[in-house]
Symmetry: D2
Subunit: 370 residues, 4 copies
Amino acid sequence: MKKNFFILCFAVISLSVTWAQPPNDDLHSMPEYVHNSHRKIIRIPDIQGFHTLKCDLHTHTVFSDGNVWPTIRINEAWQDGLDAVAITDHVEYHPKQKYVVGDLNTSNTIAQEKADEIGFLLIKGTEITRKKPDGHMNALFIQDANKIKVEKAADAVEEAYRQGAVIMLNHPGWPDNKSTMDTMHIRFMKEGKIKMVEVFNSKSFYPKVVGWMNEYNLAPAASSDIHDLISHRHPADTDIRPMTLVLAKDRSLEGIKEALLAKRTLAFFNQNIVGQKEWVQALFEACLPIKMVVDNKKKKRYTFEICNNSDIGFVLKTKNGTEILLRPNSIYRMNIGYKSLDTTYEVMNAHIDINTHLVTRLPFAKALHK
Amino acid sequence: MKKNFFILCFAVISLSVTWAQPPNDDLHSMPEYVHNSHRKIIRIPDIQGFHTLKCDLHTHTVFSDGNVWPTIRINEAWQDGLDAVAITDHVEYHPKQKYVVGDLNTSNTIAQEKADEIGFLLIKGTEITRKKPDGHMNALFIQDANKIKVEKAADAVEEAYRQGAVIMLNHPGWPDNKSTMDTMHIRFMKEGKIKMVEVFNSKSFYPKVVGWMNEYNLAPAASSDIHDLISHRHPADTDIRPMTLVLAKDRSLEGIKEALLAKRTLAFFNQNIVGQKEWVQALFEACLPIKMVVDNKKKKRYTFEICNNSDIGFVLKTKNGTEILLRPNSIYRMNIGYKSLDTTYEVMNAHIDINTHLVTRLPFAKALHK
Amino acid sequence: MKKNFFILCFAVISLSVTWAQPPNDDLHSMPEYVHNSHRKIIRIPDIQGFHTLKCDLHTHTVFSDGNVWPTIRINEAWQDGLDAVAITDHVEYHPKQKYVVGDLNTSNTIAQEKADEIGFLLIKGTEITRKKPDGHMNALFIQDANKIKVEKAADAVEEAYRQGAVIMLNHPGWPDNKSTMDTMHIRFMKEGKIKMVEVFNSKSFYPKVVGWMNEYNLAPAASSDIHDLISHRHPADTDIRPMTLVLAKDRSLEGIKEALLAKRTLAFFNQNIVGQKEWVQALFEACLPIKMVVDNKKKKRYTFEICNNSDIGFVLKTKNGTEILLRPNSIYRMNIGYKSLDTTYEVMNAHIDINTHLVTRLPFAKALHK
Amino acid sequence: MKKNFFILCFAVISLSVTWAQPPNDDLHSMPEYVHNSHRKIIRIPDIQGFHTLKCDLHTHTVFSDGNVWPTIRINEAWQDGLDAVAITDHVEYHPKQKYVVGDLNTSNTIAQEKADEIGFLLIKGTEITRKKPDGHMNALFIQDANKIKVEKAADAVEEAYRQGAVIMLNHPGWPDNKSTMDTMHIRFMKEGKIKMVEVFNSKSFYPKVVGWMNEYNLAPAASSDIHDLISHRHPADTDIRPMTLVLAKDRSLEGIKEALLAKRTLAFFNQNIVGQKEWVQALFEACLPIKMVVDNKKKKRYTFEICNNSDIGFVLKTKNGTEILLRPNSIYRMNIGYKSLDTTYEVMNAHIDINTHLVTRLPFAKALHK
């Protein structure tokens, strides 16, 4: 009974620990975290028949100017609940070279072993690094980073493209706080060689770039560009790291690459979504199933429950300026007059163009016919 | 732009508030909570084709010895994410009668109006209240509590039964810390008049009563028996209220009553589940889908991810005494040798008889064929 | 040893529960919350030799239009970490009178018994309740609420004043979203009969009223005006209830009354402070001790650590528009050039007049001489 | 006004972010975490006139078998609220030497630069690493790790001792789950060359070693021995890293070294304290000031409030087996009969010998005379 009592107590008290072996005077050991064996669930629904894969396409390690061993990037991404991560050390910048040696593929090689061990998707990448106007560009799905080390940025892009890489323009507003691109970038965009752009990088948002997404037909991205620790930059209690939501036909490297090439991405930074209207709209609706719970014939209104089953909150603004908050992982109750079923809302945290939000109906009418 | 900037900032910072009108010098007002318009999602899956409804079948108001107005019980239950609540004021105990008047149906009448307004399920109940050996019994789904006010406890039970009530034996271990029942209770159980029993009440667990569940074919219940505030007794950051999981054919009062009469319930207190083996097993499996992520041919083992998508954690114990924790809302990674796919585990927080846990396989083999 | 093991485990796992008696098959019971025996510590420092008492001067019960028994208001305030609470049921509004009877002093009489039992300070109050322009006024420290039930609002104020009450103008912006007062109020202010005004009520803030505080020499207040549950209106994870910080010579009812009459109060709503410049400045400095940790002679700058040991966060704005966040209960590191020790900051959440923030130095120079 | 409104809103909503510059279409940037500028306050009181310094005396970097750059260990320790950290890379174990080069002092040299920049205390250390029976020993406050690289463990200890190092026996229960030491260790202890021992290492506790503390007059230590990330091993929401509480005359490296040599330490792992009775008792009392709030002459009892102003919870056990929980950062209310003021309690999470807890009075009588 004593044992049983313990277990009950144990189970009751919020399940914080478990034991690898019966404790004794030699050793009481709590094994769970030792093996880093748990990870979070990020709740973002699949849409339009695609898997919504959570990807961070921009990270660094000690093999360029980051401060962690490549395996840490895999562990962090796994524990954060992501589906894939890219390691994109700088081709040209190696401030730790006095102490850290290896070629330009080493960080990915080391990380790949860890990824294979735990069944995680690692995208082999590198960052082509110049001062503005060339700026920084990530090459994702590369074959050999060493070959990308060439004098001119444009040649590096061409080489990466030859290797089959997906190329992304990084943090256009850094380091001069001006969101800029160069004629070289425009040329590569038009040639289909640059296919992506970061609208979020680390803690920054570049509103102008949401316009570029439409103007140049680019897939939007949100990247951590992490050099230190995710847990310090994006503490779990107040923040989550930026991520690119990739709408993939299957959960594989091939699936991700195909989706990037087809520009099926959304950029998600904490509670803001940036993307083509089609995908933003689809995500919005998938997150928010609606149920009618009261038909008040006297007051001529319905009461609906909007069940936000996702980790994304939404801020809706009505025409008269009232704002409604649909918190993540909760249910919101709303009274709607019989005549107001077709009201449109501006979704203040869903960005489909520069300073332009998604404007949409909530499918109340449809909910009546379920 | 200024506006837009605000909104971004606003949306970014974890979506804490929204505004009912554009603030000005007269008034800045944050409307959200004013209307109590959000509620939690409790993540417990439906099983075996039934809806898993979360019910608290035992609460009190100022109309007996509770300390809140009946509408509070509805609001609390709605916000806590429940599907239904019963108000079960004592037939015989009215310590506030100097100040609070009304008949024995009043608390339910007042609460029903609120329930109708927001679309919530209220079960009309009352508590037949005697000292031990008669003890306390809840009559649920009653017609008229006034008629249940009779001298003898047995007659009160008969009257409730005549009204079509489902009758439950309450907190058998209270107030003497002995889990007891009387010949009257046994008789009513055999006659099918007492159909339920509390294995959890407030902060107490009665292990012996898990045995009675099997011996007398009773539906197990977990009740808050709340007199004061749920938020004080079960603070949201460390605890959740006890609840009876009712496996109902549909989400309605009729659905709940049918399920209680058919004894399709589980008692859930924080992280412990009590019930018939069939339902406990089904819930366990529904909470824990498994996916194979690595087939390591060299080490002759698989790596699996067990995705606990529910709010219930599970503690598994292997034959050699190791304990494994499957935390709520997280994914656990596990290496299993080719030859160990059929290992059984004791589920330490799943109780199917007195001091007896569910022992079961994890469906690893099945996961290989997906 | 087994026992010891349990206790270790038990203690280790975040100390969630304890047991009233050794559990057995009859009963496992967790006693802690049953007796509501824990309360929060609100960390706000004493200033200028006064005790900083946390008070909610405006609450309701079932004896007017509230929804809880008076004892709940005492329990809530005790658990929330307050020093005192006033129960201020409406003199004139009794929507529950069909079911709840008693005279106008009853709610305070019932609550007083609970307050005495646990050693908590209850301020006997009532709310004089008229439509605008008279509006609502709280009379605090009254003798007999029944005598305040007279036809005219002005006569009610005079009667309360005769009883020695401190009178407060409530929520000037309610219900018409216009912050207004009437010639009657101005007269009473000039006569020293109205001494306080709410700048925060529930979820509302009245910026204009911060101006009145100075113009009419009123003590500012922040009140919950709670009718339902504090935990629903101000959920512990995102919010804390509004409170009036009373700078008292001693921790007693007399001490509070003396301080109110002397207008030594600050209104605190979540992270915003409103008050006379003198007290706001004193509180700001008391919350933020500073320590020099590096003297970098090469870069000609110091590094300071500002230790915010309080539950109040502060937002500082520099002249160039940069904002600095001094989070509650944390330490902020700041580099300051030798020549910038006298920089002034605008404290964006410290309000000393209508739309006017405290502007102040941080005492860096002083920190060098410690 | 718009600006003001924003700031209010901003400040109100739990102060999550602030801005480095006025956001615009080019860039919205949140600077706070970018510079890692905030750290936690760990609330553990100073005792007996000593500063209670929070130290982690055992960590690793990529320069042995750790997975982070040395600067990360400084940042982690600073943000976690510690006062000092030791970097103790293995003398003999360098699995990353193919990619990471440098001598045995390099990790401390790199870390020292970061420590100087932010004003943090780094203890230069190394780990002498052999298989059992020699096992692992930390040498703290060394001069030159390169000289400690000698064939025999005993010679390495002698060399470290010559350099003035404080030597600690590490994780006696690893890797064989037996808490053992060797004749060499005993000899060094008797000679005063080994002065410390880990009773907690990572997630392990060695009960036997609490006995050694007394038998061999050793200063107890609790170390993270972190190789990966503190935030993964000890997630902030459920755990804090092990730490050695050093009772120092001043807040400096010299102060720490003097205290270690004088054996004034306590080992603190999450909620468990291990140490000499004198210091454990002093810490217990310093954490728990008591105030009398009711003298109930009728019931012949006092009501006390015990204010646990620290981050350490305490579990008290009375003679009849009842357990009382004094939660961290909260106030506990307790009724004590006039005749029970001298009751003793067993403090279940305060360990003064093998399987032996502190037994002590609570100073109720003293509280009456305040």
